[in-house]
């Protein structure tokens, strides 16, 4: 009994002061020059929590990123696969429990999860402006907002994604390239189209794109949440979705649970059109051997949503210096270029091409994206920004009430 009490007392004396210490260290970090931070991080270990569902991305992180971090900065990179929703909850619990020293150093995060994490005070920062590569090669306007939520330097950019559709040229000659044409196509090809059930990431982005297309464009929503505007416009979206529902896969009685399921249906030819929030997705699948060589991608001419994905540092990261060094490396020209190559990943750079040296620019232009991936010249003209997160939540809930349970 006595011994237990002693152990408990010891535990508290040991844990109490570390919190104070960590706080002063955080404040110092903001003032420390980056070269000094790199010095501090040398020989340390950085744990990067990120979505682990893509084997090729995991390989890229484990080989290229881990290798470069070791040789350039003598940092050991540990990749931990975890969905963003899960690590946000892990951090929430750690914060509630008063755990000052966690085990996550860097997160791959954006959108709703960033908003959740930021509102709950789970992130360290601002730090993005401190990173030399963000200062040099990133357009500050491009990283001012994340799904309409101000970034304020609490995230560093890492990549760019844009919504594309996929089709097999051996099956379909001319894919529909507007939402109106898509509706006709679905009616003409019953059972050959479906979308993942929101709140799945891809399915949710698909219905946002329909929302833009059938309600007169994205610009009206960017000013922030307007309940009256939403109440006026949303019925058009439910109308469109309910019009096509009886003609969807399985007569619209059910929807794929996630985008991986839709990929499977598309690869087996059960549906004629696939979709992805990642332009190189089809090319990756061809390289992997799951999609036929004849698959190509296309974008909707009435708007294709893009977003920047980011990295962020949790409030209780045990190695914030190391996390900043990794975040800085990820947005470097070298890392972005390696990431851009389809055999590695094919993820689009979050850099501003205007800020690159002519030589670096040529290195990016020289990358062969593969026949299935559209280039910036096709993607950029139709790119439209993501909707503010409040709309996203309302659309997902509205989909349940007005489409699923209608």
């Amino acid at each position: 009994m006595k011994r237990t009490l002693v152990i408990i007392a010891l535990y508290f004396t040991m844990t109490a002061p570390t919190g104070l210490y960590a706080q002063t260290a955080d404040a110092d970090l903001a003032k420390t020059p980056f070269s000094r931070i790199e010095e501090q991080a040398r020989g340390s270990q950085v744990s990067w929590y990120m979505f682990g569902g893509w084997a090729h991305v995991n390989t890229w992180v484990d080989t290229y990123v881990a290798g470069e971090m070791k040789t350039r900065y003598d940092i050991d990179l540990v990749r931990v696969p975890m969905d963003a929703g899960v690590f946000v909850n892990k951090l929430l619990n750690e914060k509630a429990a008063g755990k000052k020293k966690g085990n996550i150093d860097l997160l791959w995060i954006n959108g709703e999860n960033f908003k959740n994490a930021r509102e709950a005070g789970l992130l360290f920062g601002p730090f993005a402006q401190k990173l030399p590569n963000v200062q040099q090669v990133v357009d500050p306007d491009s990283i001012a907002f994340d799904f309409g939520f101000p970034v304020d330097g609490y995230e560093a950019p890492y990549g760019r994604a844009q919504f594309v559709f996929e089709y097999d040229t051996a099956q379909i000659a001319e894919p529909p390239t507007t939402m109106a044409a898509l509706k006709q196509w679905i009616h003409a090809n019953p059972g050959r189209f479906t979308y993942p059930q929101p709140p799945d990431f891809t399915g949710s982005a698909f219905i946002r794109q329909v929302f833009y297309a059938v309600t007169g464009g994205h610009a009206q929503y960017l000013a922030g949440w307007d309940p009256d505007l939403f109440a006026r416009k949303a019925p058009l979206l439910w109308q469109w979705l309910n019009d096509v529902e009886p003609y969807l896969w399985q007569k619209g009685r059910t929807y794929p649970q996630d985008s991986a399921f839709l990929d499977t249906l598309f690869s087996r030819g059960e549906v004629g059109l696939g979709m992805s929030y990642h332009p190189p997705h089809a090319q990756n699948k061809i390289i992997e051997g799951t999609y036929p060589e004849t698959v190509r991608t296309f974008v909707m001419q009435d708007g294709s949503i893009y977003n920047i994905h980011f990295t962020a540092i949790p409030f209780n990261s045990p190695n914030k210096s190391g996390a900043m060094v990794l975040a800085n490396f990820l947005i470097s020209v070298d890392a972005q270029l390696s990431k851009y190559r389809p055999e590695n990943w094919g993820d689009f750079p979050a850099l501003d091409p205007k800020r690159l040296s002519p030589q670096d620019k040529r290195r990016f232009q020289a990358v062969d994206l593969g026949p299935a991936t559209l280039g910036p010249e096709q993607l950029n003209p139709v790119a439209v920004p993501e909707i503010p997160a409040d709309y996203l939540e309302a659309i997902e809930q509205g989909w349940r009430d007005h489409v699923l349970n209608e």
Partner: protein, 289 residues
């Protein structure tokens, strides 16, 4: 020190973590369902989340559907499990050892069983192509649409597959202690095989069957992995709804997720109490052997 308090002290290494983790978790869930101790300050009233759920007809549809899937799969697992266990128990010794293969699904994780069902029963699956090869159906799409029928048949199949060996295990444990001479006696007195099973064997196995049913029923009512692979969009399973609310929606909606969990937990407790009461009353009416 009295013997009770010393017993409590001796149990404390086990009991304390249990109390802290389990009761702490339940306590936090209930609090958050009322909008207290939430990650973000909750602007709504204490019972807003519950009102939101109780006025949502799709919540009731999901609740009833989850109950249905759980009840049908638990009942079939216990029925099949009991019959199989009895057959195996009656087998000669050497064959009974071979019959141990029934334990294989026990070691398979639920998610693996879900994939087994998916691979076998989908319209592009193994059974469909076998039927097509044998000429039973002209094209693969003629194969019955088992997985997307709107009745949760895929999940019921998976839970039954996974639950049957579990029920067998429980029933086997009872049978091992069962005195075979009772059957011989009944046989000599001229009872038929069916009569022996229902009047002599079954009453002895009932406790194991009840336990098995409660465990399987409540597990399939709340579990997530099999629905994640096999559930349909409408009506959805409650566990999927909780998962989506918890992980994929705005933090402001945390109380709703927790309210569903609280309702499910409350239901489970009520169910156990009510079920045991009913069983006890039924058994009181039965003459003990």
């Amino acid at each position: 020190m009295s013997s009770t308090s010393s017993l409590i002290l001796k149990l404390s290494p086990l009991a304390l973590p249990y109390l802290a983790l389990f009761c702490g978790g339940v306590f936090l869930t209930v609090c958050q369902s009322f909008g207290l101790l939430t990650p973000l300050p909750y602007p709504g009233g204490m019972v807003d989340a519950y009102l939101e759920l109780l006025t949502d007809s799709s919540f009731f549809a999901s609740f009833v559907f989850s109950l249905g899937v759980a009840a049908v799969s638990a009942a079939s697992a216990v029925t099949i499990g009991t019959l199989l266990a009895y057959r195996i128990w009656k087998l000669p010794g050497r064959l009974a050892t071979v019959a141990l293969v029934y334990k294989i699904p026990l070691v398979l994780p639920h998610i693996a069983v879900a994939f087994v069902v998916l691979v076998f029963w989908s319209q592009s699956g193994i059974l469909a192509s076998a039927a097509h090869q044998l000429g039973l159906i002209r094209s693969m799409t003629e194969f019955p649409n088992v997985l997307y029928s709107g009745w949760g048949i895929g999940m019921i199949l998976a839970y039954t597959l996974k639950g049957t060996p579990f029920a067998m295990l429980l029933v086997m444990a009872m049978l091992v202690r069962f005195d075979a001479r009772q059957i011989q006696t009944a046989d000599m007195l001229g009872a038929s095989g069916l009569r022996i099973f229902f009047s002599v064997v079954l009453p002895r196995l009932a406790p194991a069957m009840h336990t098995g049913f409660i465990i399987l029923f409540l597990y399939s009512f709340g579990a997530f992995d099999i629905p994640y692979i096999l559930s349909e969009s409408r009506p959805g399973m409650l566990s999927i709804q909780v998962y989506n609310l918890y992980f994929k929606h705005d933090l402001a909606r945390r109380p709703e997720a927790m309210a569903i969990l609280t309702i499910m937990f409350g239901f489970a407790v009520l169910f156990i109490v009510a079920y045991s009461k009913v069983v006890r009353r039924l058994e009181d009416g039965v003459r003990k052997l």
